[in-house]
Amino acid sequence: MPWTREQMAARAARELQDGFYVNLGIGIPTLVANYIPDGIEVTLQSENGMLGMGPFPYEGDEDPDLINAGKQTITQLPSSSYFNSAESFAMIRGGHIDLTFLGAMEVSQNGDIANWTIPGKMLKGMGGAMDLVAGVKRVVALMEHANKAGVSKIVKQCTLPLTGSACVDLVVTDLCVFNLDRHQGGLTLIEMAPGVTLAEIKAKTEANFTTSA
């Protein structure tokens, strides 16, 4: 049985290490915050200018001056700090963030990721996604394995405009987890959702991949 979004988030959360500084993308990545393992403390960065992002406020405590990069109302922690956008992306670009979880539309076997636009279909912009994939030490993509028509989103080569090239380190889908060597290229299947078979993954994956020993 494929993993739910919650289960994908929980699996992704196991990538966290104590003391990590982490940036969570919008969508499934946001859920990762609910599954931080016991004994692990992480600090969340929000690229609009905050380190030490707290949980959502209690109803009635919302502060319009305190939002995350997804424009959601959030709270401050005792250890929080604020900074401007240039300083925030200096932090990201400079390689100071340990890990980012990002949603994706396509990931290719050489580590390319596309997650910001579908030409002719949506006009939004890349926001901070290109900066995150280029600057963060470790990039974890969280995505459905295939689209509703069953077409693989783990591909030989991305067809959508890229967010970044050769920058993904790990892919967590609803079916499995791939390790990705961003320097050499190459996907390695390292984990499957319970009840999911290798045959099913092979059938639903366009990209080439190996399986771990």
């Binding site: 604020y82 006009l123 890349m126 926001g127």
Partner: protein, 239 residues
């Protein structure tokens, strides 16, 4: 010394606006937008604006007002989603759009204020953003060159100003405002409170007064929330 404090947004814009000008406007989402000055720009009737701002407002809020009047010809932004009017104008060919990665946008503005005409970044390598830009390898990794951004006018929103033009911002309403304040030929700040020199902590000023030419008090003080997310309040403890 001539005062930096102006009585109204209209007075602060006097002699500054002209058709075809480039304007930087602070804010991220609906936080930290110079709403009072945007309204005054709208009222000024200035046209053919190139606007540099991370987003372009939302229905009825922020820079949306200048889209609605057709005063903006070109936007330089990182994210313009959740804005139907923008999408429509763009598809109708009435609006030019230059998308920048958010960090590149912020750094280009900082560079404009800091006298740095160009810099190299890894952001955008291998993407559409890199097309036509100089590439260069440093320490075995490929980078692209990005150039500075400056504006004829920067409008920013701060929390407090003193009469010397020193500014402090509040929480994540800071965002692009401090960098834009450095990159305007003229910078006008709207603030929630104007205080006397000495009331702000000299160690905690975000924008030194040198960057701020004119200051007004906000008259648009409503702060909107784009995505209200809350959690249930725990059951009340008995006293």
């Amino acid at each position: 010394m001539a005062t930096k404090i102006y009585p109204t947004a209209q007075a602060a814009l006097a002699g500054v606006v002209f058709d075809g000008m480039t304007v930087m406007s602070g804010g991220f989402g609906l936080a930290g937008n110079p709403e009072t000055l945007i309204d005054a720009l709208k009222a000024s009737g200035v046209r053919n604006l190139t606007v540099i701002s991370n987003n372009c407002g939302a229905d009825g809020f922020g820079l949306w007002a200048l889209l609605d009047t057709g005063q903006i010809t070109k936007m330089i932004s990182s994210y313009v989603g959740e804005n139907k009017l923008f999408e429509q104008l763009f598809h109708d060919g009435k609006l030019e759009l230059e998308l920048n990665p958010q960090g590149t946008l912020a750094e280009r503005i900082r560079a404009g204020g800091a006298g740095i005409p160009a810099f190299y970044t890894k952001t955008g390598v291998g993407t559409v953003v890199a097309e036509g830009k100089p590439h260069e390898t440093f320490d075995g990794e490929l980078y692209i060159r990005e150039s500075w951004l400056k504006a004829d006018l920067a409008i920013v929103k701060a929390w407090k100003a003193d009469t010397a033009g020193n500014l402090v911002y509040r929480k994540t309403a800071r965002n692009f405002n401090p960098v834009m304040a450095t990159a305007g030929r003229v910078t006008i700040a709207e603030v929630e409170e104007i205080v006397e020199p000495g009331e702000l902590d000299a160690d905690a000023i975000h924008t030194p007064g040198i960057y701020v030419n004119r200051v007004i008090r906000c008259t648009v003080n409503e702060k909107l929330i784009e995505k209200r997310t809350v959690r249930p309040r725990p059951a009340k403890e008995t006293v």
